[in-house]
Symmetry: C2
Subunit: 334 residues, 2 copies
């Protein structure tokens, strides 16, 4: 271990892949050799890691031979195809896609919340969806303080949650507007500049989107509360990075604002920015680039005795994805 | 009446004042003479109404002599000072400010909902806050269908809700970004371009903002449900025009999605855009400039038996302000 590990990043040219490289460096993850994988069209490109230039390869036969830890952020189809190959080759897989999250044999882990679950892995540990992570971080200490009874989560999600193309689309449309040109949607279904789109992922049963149902099922699995009532609304907003979620949470026991603040402030990975009189509350532009999730606007719900409203913001490329993945890997190699 | 009415618009150069002129024209409101009032710094400017150029005046002694209907959208302090003068001079006042909304002797009216309340006026009829109007429009038919028990409203509010300066601020910051320059906040407390700000109006008791508490008290007054539990979160987003609200509404009686759709579609001023499979749901850029409010994303709440989630969008300068004001005036002169 002192000599380091052979690490593979699959989907290395994507927004999460790039952030994974950054975080492996920042946290001094013991990397001996780094292999950079991406799709066919990125082969030949290079990425930089610890000052070294690394050629991007396509996953082929024997790709994972000798790899100790593989981070997957290339999409669900790629994970389904290649993650079992990596496991077979002896690698531990940290999967950022939705491929295995709800598989009962695969732990779904946010290290601050359910690190123990990772121990039972059979080669793959899944990393939750970005919106799930940002939402579940304050839910855990609140559950410990008063036992969750019902959660209503309403999101404001950044375009980089949809990857590099989402960022390009917002930038392109905004620049077109600045030049006085017409705005045309290419990547998102509708204009995203100066608009909000109440639709992320595909529509499914009951009119809920895939993103909304991920939030429900993943929060339940991470908190080990399989029947927790969760009501989700997920919305894309013209923000580059960091997801915000307005949460209404009902508890069995009364949790005062003071008690909630204490619980949030004492939870690792969570920080309290809740001084409204000073105009201090979390926002995407102040949270972007930060590792922690930030909670503010904590209010007792005036419509119900045992409920709280609060506002949580997290950099969904970092804690919402790459950082959480690297934290999982740190657990696995311990 | 056939000869028309003398109409005054106070705050004529503002976003709502300008829209009021447009709507008076569009709806062929019987205007004989129009007087255009604004603050000192706008005196000497002109506005256009029905092709005529009208000089902007300052409200002075005798300003409302002979005026039949006065629309106030200059702010609360101005309404408090001048609306009683206008009433004394014999005018009927439609007040768009928050000055008199919660005054028990002043009706607070959304014509589709509580037109009857306007009859009891003593000179002033108040027009609700923009977010209230957009939120309360679908709540009324839902209440008729199943009796409201609790409402959780989470908003995505456009910058023009803060007036012309809000629009200028978003445009200025976005253009600075396009030129690669630093973004500086001047009008809003924080950067609004590519950001969301969970703070509208001043903070008050319990950590709620004025905007949030307006939503609570005004919805209750309009629906004549003084104890209705309402839980509000209001957020500014980088959108020019049209407010969106994610609503979770619990009812005494079960209201199915089908029944809710029917109730919404049959309510005047409300339209249904709820064909998710076709990517059809309301959004600010498709609703801007429209008179009606639009509802979509109607889903049974999976976390509670008798509750629905839906998404409502309205042009807050039109139905959320100027149009509602002109509709009130139409009631008054009937």
């Amino acid at each position: 271990m002192a000599a380091g590990l052979n690490v593979a990043v699959v989907g290395v040219t994507g927004a999460v892949g790039q952030t994974t490289l950054k975080i492996l460096e920042e946290r001094k993850f013991p990397v001996k050799d780094l292999r950079a994988f991406a799709s066919e069209r990125s082969v030949g490109k290079t990425v930089t890691f610890k000052g070294e230039t690394i050629r991007v390869e396509k996953v082929g036969p024997g790709a994972f031979t000798g790899v100790d830890v593989a981070f997957f952020s290339a999409g669900s189809a790629q994970s389904k195809e290649y993650a079992p190959q990596a496991v077979k080759a002896g690698a531990m897989v940290v999967d950022k896609s939705s491929a295995f999250r709800m598989d009962p044999s695969v732990p779904l882990v946010v290290p601050e919340i359910n690190a123990d679950a990772a121990r039972s892995h059979q080669g793959i540990v899944a990393c939750p969806n970005c919106t799930t992570i940002v939402t579940v971080m304050p839910l855990k200490p609140l559950h410990e303080a008063g036992r969750l009874r019902r959660v209503i989560a309403t999101s404001y999600q950044a375009v980089s949650g949809a990857g590099v193309q989402g960022v390009e689309e917002l930038a392109r449309q905004t620049l077109a507007w600045a030049r006085g040109e017409a705005i045309t949607p290419k990547f998102f279904d509708h204009q995203i500049a100066f608009n909000v789109i109440p639709h992320i992922d595909k529509f499914g049963a009951g009119g809920y989107t895939g993103e909304e149902m991920k939030l429900v099922s993943e929060v339940r699995k991470i908190l080990d509360l399989p029947d927790l009532p969760v009501s989700p609304t997920t919305v894309r907003v013209p923000v580059f990075t960091a997801h915000s979620v307005a949460v209404n949470a009902e508890t069995e026991l009364k949790v005062t604002c003071a008690r909630a603040r204490e619980a949030f402030a004492g939870f690792p990975g969570l920080r309290l920015w809740d001084e409204p009189a000073e105009g201090r509350y979390p926002m995407p532009v102040t949270v972007e680039g930060q590792d922690d999730c930030f909670v503010g606007r904590i209010r007792e719900d005036i419509s119900l005795p045992n409920a709280l409203n609060f506002w949580v913001v997290g950099d969904q490329l970092r804690k919402g994805a790459a950082l959480n993945g690297v934290q999982i890997a740190e657990l696995l190699i311990r």
